[in-house]
């Protein structure tokens, strides 16, 4: 772990001791697992503290751990251009009503990744300026990247089962 990341973790621990759930270093990728209610405080610290300066929000990766609880996890990958250091913040959300505060106030670039997570996983970002579907059509039902969402194979229509499949299709009906 490079010095800047150690300093970052120390500073977060000093200012928000209750927020950190654990620190991981799987495959040399430092990860801070934080409590979802304190996410915005920590992001404000990492973004605006002049000594830390994590100016680039690289990505928000969202994972569904169904059927385990907490079901969803969000990984915020932050990069400090000045110090060339990278850290990951992870929050874990329950499956019932996944909700977390939006970090668009810290990084404008969070806008689209959060919309993507909302669209694909159904995670609600509180305080997002424009939370709409981004990749799927606006009238789509469900959130495709959830593990309990079927992949959606279509049964092939042959002459022997033509009418059976036709009767299941909801289009072209009176």
């Amino acid at each position: 772990m490079n010095n800047h990341i150690e300093a970052t973790i120390d500073q977060v621990r000093a200012l928000h001791p209750e927020a950190i759930e654990s620190v991981m270093n799987f495959r040399e990728e430092p990860t801070l697992i934080v409590d979802a209610t304190h996410l915005l405080d920590i992001c404000n610290l990492l973004r605006f503290d002049s000594g830390l300066d994590y100016s680039l929000l690289v990505d928000i990766a969202f994972v569904d751990h169904y059927p385990n609880e907490p079901r969803f996890s969000l990984s915020y990958i932050l990069h400090s251009l000045e110090k060339n250091a990278r850290i990951r913040l992870r929050v874990q959300l329950s499956g019932k009503s996944p909700e977390v505060s939006s970090v668009t106030a810290c990084w404008k670039s969070a806008e689209w990744p959060e919309r993507e997570a909302f669209d694909m996983m159904g995670i609600n970002f509180v305080g997002h300026p424009d939370l709409r579907r981004i990749l799927m059509p606006a009238d789509w039902d469900g959130h495709p990247l959830r593990k309990d969402y079927p992949l959606g194979y279509e049964e092939v229509q042959f002459s022997f089962n033509w009418e059976e499949i036709d009767s299941k299709k909801d289009y072209a009906k009176e």
Binding site: L57, D59, V63, S75, S109, M120, L135, M136
Partner: protein
């Protein structure tokens, strides 16, 4: 009936994106795309215009969404590889590389030296091929249509080289977990050398056509200005970010595949405009050629894929006389290999910016989750900020300058 109602609410939601003037008709709301040649694919932009000036530009993406991330979860690690080619269809080998690096990090696979050098050559050839398409299409947007034909002619040479190594012109799936599919053929190195001799002269031609062309300069200089701090705030990476003078290149910041052993410059321009981004990419052609030349010198005989039989198929010659090899062969091609539990994130420098792959292993032979951080998606976000106050014609120049690929945006 329920579906119709939902659509109406969406239109109401869209109304809030524009100013009140749009409601009264003082400004005009115009739809650009998705089927429009200057949007580089199927990008739809909803523009609010005051005369010919852009007041607000709302990109609408998703027309090319094919559910690649969902599909990959249903395939084994190896079968999912072919989906990555189809994401950013101008950076096929780069996508393969990113995905394979993520698997290798998750499973702790060692990649042989020769394979790493071949990967670097492939990635840089791919960068040149992608930049050639960018140069041709973005110049055509500004009415320099002959450049397009010349660039596609040059790119044809590269596609021939990819066909030589992978059997296909674009969707090669040549880079595999643990190395590359098979060694390069004997005619590969001479073909690359021929191309490296051929390209500089052509690039000089294109520079003569564009770089000091007064028409081109008036269409690009001081157009689409984005300050360094805004560019970072909006998540831009790659050549577009370096056009705003920020020195961030993943090959330098977090070297992979042995990029730290190569000597190259990261071109920077501080114009922050369309012209600066053009200059950066034109210089990157030469840097890529320099890297390929150094890599060809490093190309020494050796294995091209790991000899850990859990992650690579045994060679044909072993199958006749080793029972263990037969078992490995059977397991590898049917069940695939299992990755340990955990989450890794790997970044590479694609021709468009930072291409990241977040791979979650759940202990089974299929990936638990594959998420791609695609540079076009993040770069496109900045378009609405960048275009405010410019003319519609300038907007077209800006789309070209951030070099988006819609397959990469929508996945």
């Amino acid at each position: 009936m329920s579906q119709v109602r939902k659509l109406e609410t969406t239109l109401d939601e869209l109304k809030t994106l524009f100013s009140d003037k749009a409601q009264t008709g003082e400004t005009m709301v115009l739809n650009l795309g998705p089927q429009h040649p200057s949007t580089h694919g199927v990008l739809r932009l909803i523009l609010e215009l005051d005369g010919e000036e852009v007041v607000r530009c709302v990109p609408d993406v998703g027309f090319l969404h094919t559910g690649i991330e969902k599909n990959m979860e249903a395939k084994t690690y190896l079968k999912a590889l072919v989906m990555t080619d189809r994401m950013d269809y101008l950076n096929n080998l780069g996508n393969n590389l990113t995905y394979c690096l993520a698997i290798e990090k998750l499973c702790n696979i060692e990649v042989p030296k020769r394979a790493q050098v071949i990967r670097v050559i492939c990635a840089e050839l791919q960068r040149i091929a992608s930049h050639l398409v960018w140069l041709g299409t973005s110049a055509m947007d500004l009415n320099a249509s002959s450049v397009l034909i010349y660039c596609f002619r040059d790119r044809e040479n590269l596609l021939d080289i990819f066909e030589m190594i992978g059997g296909q012109r674009m969707m090669t799936s040549y880079i595999r977990p643990g190395g590359v599919w098979r060694d390069v053929p004997d005619e590969f190195v001479p073909a690359v050398n021929r191309f490296l001799d051929y390209l500089p002269e052509k690039l000089a031609d294109y520079e003569r056509m564009l770089t000091r062309n007064p028409l081109f300069m008036r269409r690009t200089i001081d157009i689409g200005i984005i300050d360094p701090s805004d560019a970072v705030e909006r998540g831009m990476t790659g050549s577009s970010l370096r056009g705003s003078g920020i020195n961030y290149d993943v090959r330098r910041a977090m070297p992979y595949s042995g990029y730290d052993e190569y000597d190259f410059d990261v071109p920077l321009e501080d114009g922050c405009d369309v012209y600066a981004r053009y200059r950066v990419r034109m210089r990157e052609f030469h840097e890529s050629m320099g890297i390929i030349k150094q890599a060809l010198d490093k190309l020494e005989p050796g294995p091209v894929i790991t000899d850990d039989r859990k992650y690579s198929p045994p060679p044909r010659s072993e199958l006749g006389n080793s029972m263990e090899a037969v078992i490995h062969h059977f397991k590898y091609w049917t069940e695939g290999f299992s990755a340990p539990k955990g989450e890794v994130y790997v970044a590479t420098e694609s021709p468009r910016g930072e291409l990241g792959c977040c791979l979650v292993g759940d202990g089974s032979p299929k990936p638990g989750r594959v998420h791609f951080r695609t540079p076009s998606f993040h770069n496109l976000q900045s378009l609405s900020f960048m275009s405010e106050g410019y003319l519609v014609a300038d907007l077209v120049a800006m789309i070209g300058s951030i070099d988006i690929v819609l397959g990469d945006v929508d996945r």
